[in-house]
Symmetry: C2
Subunit: 145 residues, 2 copies
Amino acid sequence: MNIGEAASASGVSAKMIRYYEQIELIPPAGRSAAGYRIYSGTDVQMLRFIRRARDLGFQVDAISELLALWRDRSRHSADVKRLAQAQIAGLRLRIAEMESMVATLDHLAQGCSGDDRPDCPILADLESDASRLAPASHSGPGFKR
Amino acid sequence: MNIGEAASASGVSAKMIRYYEQIELIPPAGRSAAGYRIYSGTDVQMLRFIRRARDLGFQVDAISELLALWRDRSRHSADVKRLAQAQIAGLRLRIAEMESMVATLDHLAQGCSGDDRPDCPILADLESDASRLAPASHSGPGFKR
DNA sequence: GATAAGCCTTCCCATGATGGGAAGGTCAAG
DNA sequence: CTTGACCTTCCCATCATGGGAAGGCTTATC
């Protein structure tokens, strides 16, 4: 199977398949005499696995661990579960950060007349120092993802 | 005021201040005889504005529009409100995507014994074709941010 | 006045996951 | 044997951010 066929069979673009090979997320594909990458059904299954994990928001490092566990027939499901729970925790954290932004913005927008007058609590807030919502600790929601 | 002082007064790193100048989010700073960037209190206020807007998740393009409105004393608050609401909508979209991931993961993790046995519905799911949750339309949650 | 510490400047590189595109080789159908 | 659709590698761009090098400036201390 060509890379193009593997791509459409797995839902991972050819570009990304080459990239995954380059960063060693997947082993180097076999090559035809002419240098074309060749994929087997197993390879496609692995690519689908990756695709699915990405859809669940896993980063490549985590996917790498998941793949290792997937291949390890003597794995402990506890390890898989731990990864999933870490992912859940990460997602919940980012969700919470964004929800806090939404709350602030929604509050401000509600106070904004939204007509042709210039006065606007949104701008007023942005220019003020104190974050009156979430007045806690830290130095700003990193939220890099 | 030096760039370092402006940085600590505004909460925007010196690196980022230079970057914002480079991408023309902010006007070029004045320069001392020796070529050092000089900042006024007004400049710091603008930087704080930017910092605050970033904390609310606005992208640089949107901040650019916000700054223009901020400076425009004959602005219509409707325009500000529109930007805020677009931001809210974008955040809610990303939140929804992530919540769907959490729901899936949580469901799978609950079915996982989490002990030393290898069997695990999480891996089983990743290797299957059909996304049994969110079986709808599209080609995967882009969720680029 | 010399020296050192701590700023500042610009320039280049890296991140993470992805796509775009160019230049050139290959394969399959007509 | 030509044509079009594929493949290869290589480079560039994204977005916001940081790291670091090489060199200049400033300020305080000896």
